[in-house]
Each structure stands twice: as C-alpha cells, then as structure tokens.
C-alpha cells in the first residue's frame, strides 16, 4: 500500500516518463530482433541458392561434348583381313588404327613419332568403339571411306568449353601450344563441334571422363530401389497396422515402439556395418549387389515408413472403426476394408518420402562394396552395381578436371529424380488428404 502511495504521490508521471524514455530503445530492439529472424531465413535460402547455382553452373556443360569429324577409311585389311565376315573376329579388329590414321591424314605434315602420339591423343580412345559400332550397324561400309563424328579427349573438351584457360603460360596448362594450334585448325575446318552428349545418359562408368555415363548407376539405383520398396512397404505397413490396431498395450509393444524410434535416429553408416557383418559375412551374399543394397536400405527406411503409416492410421476417426464393427465386420475386415484404404494416401506419401531418402543415401552402400569401379550395366539383382549417389562420390574423388562437370551433372540428374518423387508426394497429399 505504501508503494502505491509513493507512486501516486508524484502523480503517475515518473512511471510514464520511464516508459516513454525507454520506448524508443525497446522498439529498436524489437526491430533488430525481427531483422535477425529475417536474416537467418535469408542466409539459409541464399546458401541454398549458391549451392544450386554452383552445381548447375559447373554441370550444365556436361550435357554437351566436343566431337571431332574424322575422315575414316574402313579398310578391309584392318577390319576383316581374312574376308570371313566372322563377327567375333571383326569385334577384335584394331579399330584404333582407323581413327589414328584418320586424324593423321588431316595433319600430313606431322611426322615425328612423338608428335603423332600427341596428335592421336586429341581423339578419345572411345572413337574406336564408335567406329566399330558404325561398322556393325552397316557392314556395307567396309572397304569404303567416310566421315564420322567421334568424341574428343577430355583435355580438348575442357579447352573448347573454356575450362582450361588459353592465356595461362604453356607450362601451367594441360594443353600445349601445339595442341591448341591443331584444335584451332580443326575448328576452322568445321571439324570440331559441341554436340549433345548422349553418352552421358547411355554409358556405364569409365576411366575416360568423355566416355563416362550414368546409365549403369541409374539401373543400379533402380534395382536397389525395387528391392527396398518390395520389402519395406509391406513390412512397414504391417508393423504399423499391428502396433496401431492390434497390439495390446504392454511392455513388449512399448519395447518395439522405443526401438523403432531409436532406429530412426541411428547414423546410416551403422546400417552399413550391419550389412557388412550380417549379409556379406554371415549369409555370404555377393558384394556390390543391388539385393544387399536393397536389404540395407530397407532396414534404414522401415522406421520412416512405420512412423508415417502410424500417423496416417491414427488420423482415421474411430467412428469409421465403430461403424464397421457395428455392421458385423471382424477386426481384420475392419482394418483391411475400411481403415487401410482411408489411410493409404498418407502411407503412400510417407513411403515416397522414405524412398527419396533411400535414393540419396550413400554411406551404408560404401560399406557393402557398391563403391567398386563397374563398367558394365547391371542386368540383375546379384550383379555388381553401383548407385547414383555413390557414382557421384566416385567421380568427385577422381582427379581429372573433366569429372567435375560430370559429377555436377550427375547431381542434377539425382536431384531431378528426388524433386519428381517429392512433387508426387506433395501431389498425393494435396489430392487425397481428408480432414475429418
């Protein structure tokens, strides 16, 4: 009471003055705080924009490839010296000689052995496959001569794309002045052009950047995802249904629940260790195989799917269940005929998100040997394979300058897949989500 009088003694002016004196400062603090919040969001978004710009900026050039138009004489003496047209013999013929002769015929004044070797190096060694494929496609070419577009070597490609600086002193760049002169001469003749890089989408991995493609990794990812989906979806939905609809509330189900939540937070690399010790060492499954990758990723995505499916089942109102039971359905009939169909959109959304995470996962697959260098396109679940993110990791580790743009381009492909999957999830949620 005495305080009240003390304040009212100086009729209320002092408090109001205090507040008025501080109000400017407090409003400034308020504005500062608000700006901090905006800056936080903006910095995260700016970082994301930088990331995307850096990857697109580095990677877009991988979708084109510098190619050289070579005159080729499809000499019978090289391709089919015996004249038998035996395909096996023809496959083994020395097509390398054909492209080397081709490029040398363009520069007849290059005679020394060493210069010729450098000159040959302008053309990718993949040119021999290209010539072979052309011969196999049209055998009437044998004995004639013609022109063919073949890939240039990665150094030429990098120079043409401007990733190797011409203005550097010769000793500091990978391409010599002589080579630049040859490249310029080819360009003036119209024999050098950048064309769409279809090899990037159809080839498997290769040590030569200009021949390396993502198709092997895409197929490997696809096979792995099939195994993951085929196992994790039924198992995840069944677990969720059991825990949500059937399980008695007791210690045992509590343990299962805690377990699932903990599994969701275990680092992914630990799942790789599990796969190595159990699937490879104990069960003797093959290394680098999509089936093992799929098994490991199944264990990893199960918690995601289970948790999403449980949330979805929980959101189906009890009245649906009661109505079904009231009409004489058994509990199982109620679940399969009424509850599950209503929960399915949510479950599918969760599954797609889980599969998206599995598609981008790298670390556990390194443990089970999917990091091997594999040229062939995998044909089945037991063939050695790699997956897209691991391919990105392998290329990111490679020394050649030209792999940087391949890596970025592979990232763009991977992100495209992920965006499509997430867009599908958002679409499903928007279209089928029901609010009760």
């Amino acid at each position: 009471m005495s305080e009240m009088t003390a304040v009212s003694g100086t009729p209320g002016r002092r408090t109001r003055d205090l507040v008025a004196a501080g109000i400017g400062r407090r409003y400034r603090a308020e504005r500062r705080f608000r700006i901090f919040g905006l800056v936080a969001i903006a910095s995260a978004l700016v970082f994301m924009a930088l990331l995307f710009m850096s990857i697109i900026g580095k990677g877009y050039s991988a979708f084109v490839q510098t190619e050289i138009r070579l005159p080729v004489a499809y000499a019978v003496s090289v391709i089919d010296p015996d004249g038998t047209r035996n395909l096996d013999d023809m496959r083994r013929a020395n097509y390398g000689k054909l492209y080397r002769d081709g490029i040398q015929s363009l520069f007849p004044d290059v005679t020394s052995r060493q210069d010729r070797r450098v000159l040959n190096g302008l053309v990718s060694s993949g040119a021999s496959f290209q010539i072979r494929d052309a011969v196999f496609e049209d055998q009437s070419l044998i004995g004639k001569s013609g022109e063919i577009w073949v890939p240039a070597s990665d150094d030429v490609d990098m120079l043409v794309k401007g990733k190797i600086d011409r203005n550097l002193p010769e000793s500091a760049r990978r391409v010599s002045d002589q080579e630049i002169a040859w490249i310029d001469a080819l360009e003036k003749d119209g024999r050098l052009a950048t064309r769409f890089n279809w090899r990037f989408f159809t080839n498997g991995d290769s040590r030569e950047p200009e021949l390396a493609g993502i198709w092997g990794a895409v197929v490997g990812s696809f096979l792995t995802m099939i195994v993951t989906l085929a196992l994790s979806f039924p198992l995840g939905v069944a677990t969720a249904v059991y825990l949500e609809e059937f399980a008695p509330k007791n210690r045992w189900t509590d343990i299962i629940e805690v377990n699932i939540n903990n599994l969701a937070a275990i680092p992914s690399i630990v799942f790789g260790l599990l796969g190595l010790a159990v699937f490879l060492q104990f069960f003797g499954l093959p290394r680098s195989a999509p089936v093992v990758g799929g098994l490991v990723l199944t264990l990893m995505t199960l918690p995601t799917i289970i948790i999403a499916a449980r949330v979805s089942l929980k959101s189906v109102p009890p009245s649906i269940r009661e109505a079904a039971l009231g009409l004489g359905a058994s509990k199982m009939q109620m679940v399969t005929n009424d509850v599950l169909p209503l929960a399915m959109p949510g479950i599918l959304t969760g599954t797609i998100i889980g599969m998206g995470r599995a598609l981008g996962e790298t670390a556990p697959l390194l443990m089970i040997g999917m990091v091997a260098f594999i040229v062939d396109i995998p044909g089945g679940f037991h063939d050695p394979a790699t997956v897209l993110p691991v391919q990105i990791y392998i290329w990111a580790d490679s020394a050649e300058r030209a792999f940087v743009e391949r890596t970025s381009a592979a990232i763009m492909v991977l992100l495209t897949f992920l965006i499509i999957m997430n867009a599908a999830a958002v679409f499903l949620r928007g279209k089928f989500e029901r609010r009760w």
Binding site: A29, G37, A40, I41, P267, V270, A277, H382
Partner: protein
C-alpha cells in the same frame, strides 16, 4: 535369376489356387451361399496361403543358408593339407574356387584339387537349385490340394486366414527388434575381437591414430596404433562448428516463422527451407569440398592465415547448413506448443513481441529446444558423406578449425572400403568405432527424448 523366377511362378500358382478355392467354395454350397461359414473369397485366400506360404518359407531359408552350406561342403572336400592353412589363406582359396565355378577369368592354370572343388561347387549349386524348384512346386501343389479338400460349408476359412495375417503382422513388427539386435550383436562381436588385439583403454584414450599395418612384420610401424582420441576431438570440433551455424540460424528462423511471419510468407519459406533437408548428403559433400573449402582457403590467405585445404571449418559450416531445417522444424513444434495464454499475459503487461519471445516463450520452450539440439548433435556426429568428402584423413589432435581433422565416420569408411581381409585389426577397428558411434548417438537420443517428454507435460 532363377530365384526371382521361382517367386513369380509361386505367385502365379497362388493366384490359380485362389481361383480354385473360391470356385470350390461356391460348388460346395450351390445356391446356399449364405450358409457358408466364410465367404468364398476367404476359401480362395485359404487355398492361396496353403499354396504359397510353405513353399516361400522353404525357398527363403534355402537361399539364406545355401551359400554357407555349399562353402562348408566344398571346403570340407578339399584334401587334408588345406585344412591346416590359416583362415585368411583359406578365404583366398575360396575366392579362387568361386571365380572358377562362376566362369570368371582366373589367373593361370588352377591346381587340380581347386578345379575339382570348383566343379563340386558348380554341381552343388545346380543340384540345389533344381531340388529347390522341385520341392517348392511339390509343396505348392500339395498345399493347394490339401486346402481344396478341406473346403466345406463349415470350414472356418476366415478365422484361419485372419490368424495367418495376424502372425505376419506380429512377425513384421519383430523386424525392427531384430535389426537392433543384429546391429548390437555384430558391432559387439567384432569389437570384442578387436579388443582382443588392442586393449580397450588404449583404444579409448590413446592419443595416436595410424591404423596402417605393414605387410611384413619387420617393417617400421608394423603394428599400427589405435588411439582414437584424435578422432573423437575431430568429430567434436566439426560438430561444434556445425552447431554454431545450425542452432542460431535454425532457432531464429523458427521464431520468425511462428511469431512474426505472415501466413503467405510462411507458406513459401517453410517448404523452401525444407528442401535443404531433402538434398542428399553426398551433394553437400561435393559442394563443401569443391566450393566452400577453396573459398575459405582463399579468404584465409587474403588475411594472412594458413588454412588447410580440407579444413574442419568448411565441413562444419556445410554440415551446419544441412542441419538447419532439422533444428528449425523441432523448434517450430516446441514454440507452437507454448500456450497462447502465456503470450497474452506478457502482452498484457506491456511487453513488446521480442521481449515476450526472449523472456517468456524461449524460456518456456527451452527444454524442448535443448532436446532438439541434442538430436541435432547426434545427427552431426553420425553424418558421414560431408566429412568423408570435405574433411581430411590425417588424425590431428587439434582444436584449430582451420586445420584438417578427421572424424570417426571418415575412419570407418576409409578402413572398410576396398578389399581387405576381414580379420586384421585395421578392419575390426572400424567396428569398434561403429560401436562407439552407436552408443553415443543412442545415448544422446534417449537423453533428448527424455528431456522433451519430461517437460512437454508441463503445459498439457
């Protein structure tokens, strides 16, 4: 792929027996379908289950144990002189036999007993696959005919089918438990073997890490040393840097989103932020190694600091950005859980919005935020690809963020990629590191969940 083909055949057979089952049920009670105990559909499912399930169980068990069985038989069939060889050598021989049998290119001319073993291998697999196919088909047909014979008006097909489904549900929910048990057992088992070679105290408290074991015993440093302290400090340093990025940015954006932002701004910015969580970590790693690390290096050189090209700072910064959406979504949930009445009370006392947030909302939400941060730390510790690609391999015992450090996960990956024999201390060390990682992240998660749960109840 004979196994996938077998599965397809079994599935087709199951569909056929479903049709037979429903048809039989209808035939048993012509015109009096309402008197059947179960609807024809359930009789069909009953037949399909009898057709498919026993065969499937046999096939799965077969595929799981065939390799082990065949290996035992083949290696047992080798002459006695082989059984005395050390295990590592035997594994090499086993690889030779397998490559030979699977028709891969083999070096030189194999020894006759190896060739014989490869032939046995080949024969066993051929016999095994044929026997499996015959057995499965026989089981499928026998099961179907048994089920069809039992179909009658009073067969409680629905109850039986439902019981089978329930068993399937229970078994599926056990997979989660089995996974945990598998993780714990495999980590423990291999770690114990490691601790048989390297004492646990030396591992946990040793200051020197260089796992390179030499090929010959007389080479320098042939034993390798496994003191993991430099790895732990490296992991902590990078996690700390990432938290310095993720916690302020994540928390402030969550506060702005839930307290200040207009609904429309929120609808755009929130999904955008969540994109960060969906980007694969290998992409972050590439970005960290190729863009951020050189940038920091140049920046450091600009002000006269020497920065390692694989600095902890680059990896930590990028990892922090990766974790931002994680921190912000947890903080968002917690802040929204603070009751509106507390805000109203603060406003009524004349507090500005930021004063309310700083003095009322954040203290009220603090336990939840702490729990979220703990979860984020556990993610940072377990994160692999960013550090593998952007952090170094050299185990430096340092707290200088501009130096290169290595982490637990990096070492696990480097120790286990490539072909090594499975028994060396080097490979086993990876499992011991995995065990430490597992225990630490598990502990952090349990602690975080405990903190969150304990304080959430205050406002409910």
């Amino acid at each position: 792929m004979p196994f996938s083909f077998l599965l397809l055949v079994l599935a087709a057979l199951a569909v056929v027996s479903y049709r037979f089952g429903t048809a039989r049920a209808r035939a048993v009670a012509p015109g009096r379908q309402s008197q059947l105990h179960s609807r024809p559909m359930y009789h069909g499912l009953y037949a399909a289950i009898w057709c498919g399930v026993p065969a499937l169980i046999v096939a799965t068990a077969w595929v799981a144990f065939q390799p082990v069985l065949v290996k035992g038989l083949v290696m047992g069939g080798l002459p006695d002189s082989y059984s005395a060889l050390p295990e590592a050598r035997l594994n090499l021989i086993w690889n030779d036999i397998r490559n030979l049998a699977l028709g891969d290119v083999v070096r030189a001319q194999p020894a006759p007993e190896i060739q014989a073993a490869a032939d046995t291998f080949h024969r066993l697999y051929a016999i095994g696959n044929a026997a499996l196919a015959v057995l499965c088909l026989a089981l499928a047909i026998a099961g179907t005919s048994y089920a069809l014979k039992r179909v009658s008006m009073s067969l409680r097909a629905r109850n039986q089918v439902e019981r089978v489904i329930t068993v399937f549900l229970v078994l599926s929910s056990l997979v989660a438990i089995l996974t945990t048990v598998g993780i714990v057992l495999s980590l423990l088992f291999e770690s114990l073997r490691f601790f048989g070679k390297v004492p646990p105290l030396e591992f946990l408290f040793g200051l020197h890490w260089s796992p390179q074991t030499a090929l010959r015993a007389d080479q320098v440093g042939s034993s390798g040393s496994f003191g993991a302290i430099p790895l732990f400090t490296g992991t902590l340093l990078i996690s700390l840097i990432s938290m310095c990025v993720a916690v302020p940015v994540g928390l402030m954006s969550a506060i702005y989103m839930s307290e200040y932002a207009h609904r429309k701004f929120r609808a755009v910015a929130k999904p955008l932020l969540e994109i960060l969580a969906g980007i694969p970590t290998v992409v972050y790693g590439f970005f960290a190694a190729l863009t951020v690390a050189p940038f920091i290096r140049r920046l450091g050189e600009g002000v006269g600091l020497s920065v390692a090209s694989e600095s902890a700072l680059a990896a930590g910064l990028v990892m922090g950005v990766m974790i931002i959406p994680f921190v912000s979504s947890i903080s968002d949930d917690v802040i929204n859980a603070v009751p509106q009445s507390m805000r109203d009370g603060a406003y009524a006392l004349g507090a500005t919005k930021s004063e309310t947030i700083r003095n009322v909302i954040v203290p009220a939400a603090l336990p939840g935020i702490v729990g979220g941060v703990l979860l984020a730390v556990s993610r940072a510790i377990g994160e692999t690809m960013i550090v593998v690609m952007a952090a170094g391999l050299s185990a430096n015992l340092t707290f200088n963020p501009l130096d290169a450090v290595t982490t637990v996960t990096v070492q696990i990956v480097t120790l286990l990629t490539g072909d090594q024999e499975f028994d060396s201390a080097k490979t086993l060390a990876a499992f011991a590191l995995g065990l430490v990682l597992f225990c630490v992240t598990l502990g952090l998660n349990i602690l975080a969940l405990h903190v969150v749960r304990k304080y959430r109840e205050q406002y409910e």
